[in-house]
């Protein structure tokens, strides 16, 4: 049998599943190696809030037994993965990285977790995140920041910072994050991994803590396009428990040839030529990738998404309005943190104190903004107006995608910034979502693929596809991966561990 610890640094998720199924390596050994790695490194990175050591090893062991007995194995049998701590997994706490969910253990299973389990995956634990998915740097967790495995003094991006860092650091072979305005794609870009936000409605939200109901989607993060596609094929598809779940067929996400010949690639001028604040190193990587696409036979098309400058304003009204409503249930009555009341304090005090104590500053800021946007006298000018502009943005994407197979551009305007660099100014932080919010508002699928580095920091290219056409988007991404031929880049964690020693 191969050395499991070494395999963590050489296998992809697809490879791992095949190796376990073939008996080349035991699931128990792989899971054991992952747990050791976590023990060794996560003190530094903080990517995990909960590790289910016993459960993971038990699942791994039973996978090995099943294989030996000749039983049929699921497509992810024995493969260790992690999931963002917004996803309900019975037996593990659910915190949403917030003090307000102190002590909460879900009595039901999220559909995406059930599908992972049914496919045989080993769920190692829960990824750290920005509290209630609100943030772009994973500096808003109530339980500590997440550090970027490529440069531990820098942010991994957010809000699925823990999910992206876990994949980059090799805590298993993939993770699930959530994306509302860029929260999978941005950290994927900053951590040099692949991350997919599916079409709205493609993946069930049942059992996933809601931030903004018309924007949230669960999606995979992994080291390669094929890995992410496999995860999406397992978790995606209609769920009767979610009324916003689509019945559109998933399509074939896994066996496309990755041929770029004849593909039409749209480049929105607002994302590159006309973009403000775009780091030159990032721009350079993106242009290089576009050239590679062209060399491989794709046609590059100039397109425009004219309402791009309005995307962030639209997003921060719609998303916060929905969030203010979704977070009303965190009230100290039925679960989570309840403030200790003084003599004579009543129900209003219970609500105000529990929520005041339990929510962090960014969450409070967004609840306040969202409540304001929905309140009497302001609804028309703020929330409803934003919904109208949303339609304009949606129509931009649909229109541009009529003449193209996918759109491409940078995922993030800058590579990973330093911890603490952006935290003084909420608005500056919001502007990191400039390229990602549009696809969320339009509901179209989008993904980030690592395409190089600048200043030794990962750069991600974003691909945006037509509604429910993940198949084409993923295949173009596959083609890009092949054309660039960069291979899987992994940070040298040992070197970092050595550097941090005195």
């Amino acid at each position: 049998m191969a050395n499991a610890a070494e395999l963590l640094d050489t296998l992809s998720l697809v490879d791992c599943a095949a190796a376990i199924a073939a008996g080349d390596v035991s699931a128990e050994a792989i899971t054991g190696a992952v747990l050791d790695r976590i023990d060794r490194f996560d003190g530094q990175f903080g990517a995990l809030l909960h590790v289910d050591r016993e459960g993971a090893l038990a699942t791994a062991a039973s996978t090995d037994q099943a294989r030996k007995a000749g039983a049929a194995l699921g497509p992810l049998a024995g493969v260790p993965v992690t999931v963002k701590d917004l996803i309900s997994v019975p037996g593990m706490p659910l915190t949403a990285a917030s003090k307000i969910l102190r002590g909460y253990e879900p009595p039901f299973t999220a559909t995406v977790a059930r599908r992972l389990r049914d496919a045989g995956a080993v769920i190692i634990g829960k990824n750290n995140l920005d509290e209630f998915a609100m943030g772009s740097s994973n500096e808003n967790s109530a339980f500590g920041n997440v550090a970027n495995p490529w440069a531990p003094d820098r942010v991994p991006g957010g809000s699925s910072g823990g999910s992206a860092a876990a994949v980059a650091a090799g805590y298993g072979f993939g993770s699930l994050g959530t994306d509302t305005g860029g929260s999978i794609r941005l950290p994927a870009s900053l951590c040099g991994v692949v991350g997919i936000k599916p079409t709205y409605g493609r993946v069930s939200r049942y059992g996933v803590v809601a931030f903004a109901s018309s924007l949230d989607q669960v999606g995979p993060l992994a080291l390669t396009v094929d890995d992410a596609a496999l995860l999406l094929s397992v978790i995606g598809g209609h769920d009767a428990l979610d009324s916003t779940s689509a019945t559109e067929p998933l399509g074939d996400l896994r066996s496309g040839p990755g041929s770029l010949e004849g593909r039409r690639i749209g480049v929105p001028r607002e994302f590159l030529d006309d973009a403000e604040g775009l780091d030159p190193g990032v721009a350079s990587c993106i242009r290089g990738s576009i050239d590679a696409l062209k060399s491989a036979g794709a046609t590059i098309v100039d397109v425009s998404l004219p309402h791009t400058p309005l995307a962030i304003a639209t997003y921060y009204l719609v998303a916060t309005a929905e969030a203010s409503s979704n977070l009303s249930r965190y009230d100290g009555v039925r679960f989570g943190h309840r403030a200790t009341l003084a003599q004579g304090e009543g129900i209003t005090d219970l609500y105000e104190r529990s929520r005041g104590e339990g929510f962090g500053p960014e969450v409070k800021r967004r609840i306040m903004l969202g409540t304001f946007a929905l309140s009497s006298g302001y609804y028309d000018a703020y929330y409803e107006r934003a919904c109208r502009v949303r339609r304009l943005i949606h129509d931009d994407y649909v229109s541009a995608l009529k003449s193209c197979d996918v759109l491409v551009g940078p995922t993030s305007p800058v590579p990973a910034w330093r911890l603490g660099e952006c935290t003084d100014d909420p608005l500056a932080m919001y502007l990191m979502d400039i390229f990602t919010t549009g696809a969320s508002l339009a509901g179209v699928p989008a993904m980030s693929v690592p395409v190089g580095t600048t200043q030794n920091l990962p750069v991600g290219l974003q691909l945006i596809g037509r509604h429910f056409d993940e198949e084409t988007m993923i295949d173009v991404a596959r083609g890009l991966e092949k054309a660039l031929n960069l291979g899987v880049q992994r940070p040298n964690l040992d070197a970092l561990a050595d550097e941090s020693k005195p």
Partner: protein, 98 residues
Amino acid sequence: MSDTIDRATVQRVARLARLRLSDAEQDSLVDDLQRIVAYVEKLQSVDTSAIQPLVHMTIDAMPARKDVAGQPLGTDKALANAPEAADDAFVVPRVVGS
């Protein structure tokens, strides 16, 4: 700077949202919200009078389920996470009108 957000607004909104804010938090939120609201004023630059709001992101209409009672969680599971429970119920400070 937006004139819409002042301390009174912050207090009113905080009450609607049942958030207890310290004075420092109120000050900070007045600042933050003023700047954010000023930023989102750019949405006024577009004429949306002829545009229908986009709220529902799915193509399908509302799906319905058959009227069959399933297995509920049951009292014990329902109360398992309760900060305070007694006599099979969630306990809270006395509410007016009950």
